[in-house]
């Protein structure tokens, strides 16, 4: 992540330096002359940032099928564990509208807990409370396509955006940790067992899609466009594999089965975009009317 950030900064500095070197004073004079040419522009850049993910259960499943109590429901802990995202951005601007293709990498992390209680019928003080904590880390290759609208044509351009994305699963891992309190073994013993981590790629859908919306702001520094982007991605199809729900024998032996879930994500990214066409003399890349 650090390397990627450094690379973006380096490219931004070089581009800014080149623009200043060639056109420090002609910027304003030339901008109106080629306005028509500059109404259209291609941009290419990199973005990186952080993600927060949440899972929404569409239908609950459990490997434990109780015979004398209700199935314990999972309690999801959403948007609390940060993931990482990095993407390439290819954009085409026309006036204040921009069509953006933003292929990238995204990791989503979320967790859920399930509580159980066993009580000695002959002595209710004897009981065992147990909590299973399941952490998921899922990595995706995203292919978002979105339409962006700039509110202004100044150097500082706030914008809104909307679109859709299609995503391919790269890999997934799960870890399971049990902890609890034993009141039945001669005292009150709180315990926590080491987490068991397993590959869980088979448990997730190989692909899903969703809608996205967001806002952000671009700042034009020379030819370089720096951007702060906030997106919310809403999963529209299931992110889990319905076929392989019980395929991982390590997890199913604990009574775990994934719900039918859709994954939503919030992304905050910083990036730099570089123009793909220039005026021949001025190296001007934008039309700031």
């Amino acid at each position: 992540m650090k390397k990627l950030t450094l690379l973006i900064l380096l490219m931004a500095c070089l581009s800014t330096w080149a623009q200043k070197r060639n056109t420090p004073t002609k910027y304003k004079n030339a901008r109106m002359a080629n306005a028509e040419f500059l109404e259209k522009q291609w941009w290419l850049g990199l973005k990186t940032g952080t993600t927060l993910a949440g899972a929404v259960a569409e239908k609950a499943y459990s490997g434990l099928s109780p015979v004398n109590y209700d199935v314990p429901s999972k309690v999801y802990d959403n948007y609390s564990e940060a993931g990482f995202t990095a993407s390439l951005e290819a954009a085409f601007s026309f006036l204040q509208f921009t069509i953006v293709l933003q292929p990238g990498y995204r990791s989503a992390r979320y967790s859920y807990t399930t509580d159980y209680l066993w009580t000695d019928y002959s002595n209710p003080d004897n009981r065992l409370e147990l909590t299973y904590l399941q952490r998921q880390r899922v990595e995706y290759a995203d292919f978002p396509l979105l339409l962006r609208y700039d509110f202004t044509t100044t150097r500082l351009r706030p914008y809104i955006q909307a679109g859709a994305y299609y995503t391919l699963l790269i890999q997934a891992t799960k870890s399971l940790q049990s902890s609890g309190t034993d009141y039945a073994s001669g005292g009150v013993n709180q315990f926590s067992n080491p987490a068991v981590s397993v590959g869980a790629t088979d448990l997730f859908a190989p692909r899903h899609w969703g809608l996205l919306g967001g806002l952000g702001v671009n700042y034009q520094a020379g030819n370089v466009r720096f951007t702060l982007d906030i997106q919310y991605r809403k999963g529209m199809s299931l992110a889990n594999s319905t076929e392989n729900r019980f395929a991982n024998t390590r997890l199913s032996s604990f009574g775990d089965a994934m719900d039918d879930i859709k994954i939503n994500s919030a992304l905050i990214t910083l990036g730099a975009l570089f123009p793909m066409k220039f005026l021949s003399k001025s190296f001007q890349s934008m039309n700031t009317r």
């Binding site: 434990l64 019928y121 002959s122 392989n244």
Partner: protein
């Protein structure tokens, strides 16, 4: 043209998306049937597939009072989800397999805890009714199987110190029976009684029929033996002897003529024999049969066998516990006797096998005991699609 291409691409992308489908829920599952009583223990004995695609499981449960195990019946749906259960009172104990389907009803044996008399128990698929019929003259039922609608019952007579094999009808009437002495003298029946009290080694008693001969796996002449009888003559037709109570057969499945699939044990070692010819007449020794030795199977582990077809190949599938707390499945080519593939179930909590069958859809059904939270003995049922047992 471009429009058609985009439409086609959209259709293909959408077609690959995941959808919630009941077929997937029924196709494969692992379900653990938990009870929130700290002191409850369950151990399945056998299961039967129901006409609605669900499953009926016969199990034993621990009783707070008494030295025997209680009866527990569990009904689950096609996806393995709990539907209902039945805990008959403690007037009958020690249920034994097989759980036999005759017509629309299901039969198994249990016994009176005081008189140790055998009872034939009948229930229906919905577990709405249960009827019990005493079996005259039969005590300590040990194993049962079905020959069409005739029930073959193996039992023990503690008065005469005899292993008894009987034929019964569904009314509980004994139509034929033969008894074979386990041997005379003090202490010879101790391991047998300890088996019934669940305080000692659990012996793999079983019975069945091959050709015109009936067979049982039980004690005969001081030795745990596989005995063949025609139920006419007083002496066995054939005996494959074990080693007192330290060797013998764990499981047996007739294939053709005198060829069997078998598993045997000998002083803690376990051997799998996908195809072995047994002498159904005279006396022979199980120790001489060889077989594939499986160090991963612990001493006294249960072994289950079924014969079926997986992925269009005739196979013999063995299942047993492993030293790592899993259940191992070993798939052999029936024709060549070579191992095709293996699979292991369970990881975190120990898994123990009770029964292994092939479903009507050709998938593998595995039922046994797992220890939830590492301590509570509960029933589990796993359905493994046959396509997941590729080789």
């Amino acid at each position: 043209m471009q429009r058609y291409f985009i439409l086609l691409l959209s259709f293909l992308l959408a077609a690959c998306l995941e959808e919630s489908r009941i077929e997937n829920d029924e196709r494969a599952f692992t379900k653990i049937y938990d009870h929130n009583d700290f002191g409850a223990r369950f151990k399945p004995i056998d299961l039967q597939e129901l006409s609605d695609g669900g499953y009926l499981i016969l199990a034993e449960r621990n009783l707070n009072n008494g030295q025997f195990a209680g009866i527990y019946l569990l009904r689950v749906d096609r996806s393995g989800n709990f539907i209902s259960d039945l805990e008959p009172d403690e007037t009958l104990v020690n249920p034994i397999g097989n759980l036999m389907k005759i017509g629309a009803d299901f039969y198994f044996f249990a016994m009176d805890p005081f008189t140790v008399q055998a009872y034939l128990v009948r229930t229906d698929a919905a577990l709405t009714s249960i009827t019990t019929t005493p079996v005259s003259g039969i005590t300590y039922p040990a194993a049962a199987s079905l020959d069409n609608t005739t029930i073959i019952l193996l039992s023990y007579n503690s008065v005469t110190l005899e292993t008894v094999i009987s034929l019964l009808n569904t009314s509980g009437t004994v139509t034929s029976s033969k008894a074979f002495s386990i041997g005379a003298g003090e202490g010879v029946e101790e391991p047998v009684i300890n088996h019934f009290l669940r305080t000692g080694k659990q012996f793999p008693f079983f019975t069945g029929k091959t050709g015109s001969l009936y067979y049982f796996n039980g004690f005969y002449n001081y030795t745990f033996s596989l005995v063949f009888t025609n139920l006419v003559t007083n002496n066995p037709q054939g005996v494959v002897q074990g080693n007192q109570d330290d060797g013998g057969f764990q499981a047996l499945l007739p294939l053709a003529g005198s060829t069997f699939a078998a598993a045997r044990f000998n002083y803690g070692d376990n051997y799998i024999l996908p195809g072995v010819t047994l002498s159904t007449s005279g006396i022979s020794s199980a120790t001489d049969l060889g077989g594939f030795r499986f160090p991963e199977i612990p001493a006294d582990a249960s072994v289950c066998i079924f014969r079926g077809t997986l992925n269009n190949t005739p196979v013999i599938v063995f299942g047993s516990d492993t030293r790592s707390g899993q259940v191992g499945l070993y798939v052999y080519d029936e024709t060549s006797g070579t191992l095709l593939t293996t699979r292991y179930e369970g990881f975190g909590n120990p898994f123990r096998i009770s029964t292994l069958k092939q479903s009507s859809s050709g998938d593998v059904l595995l039922c046994g005991t797992t220890y939830v939270a590492g301590r509570f003995a509960r029933i589990f049922l796993t359905k493994i699609p046959q396509e997941e047992l590729r080789w």
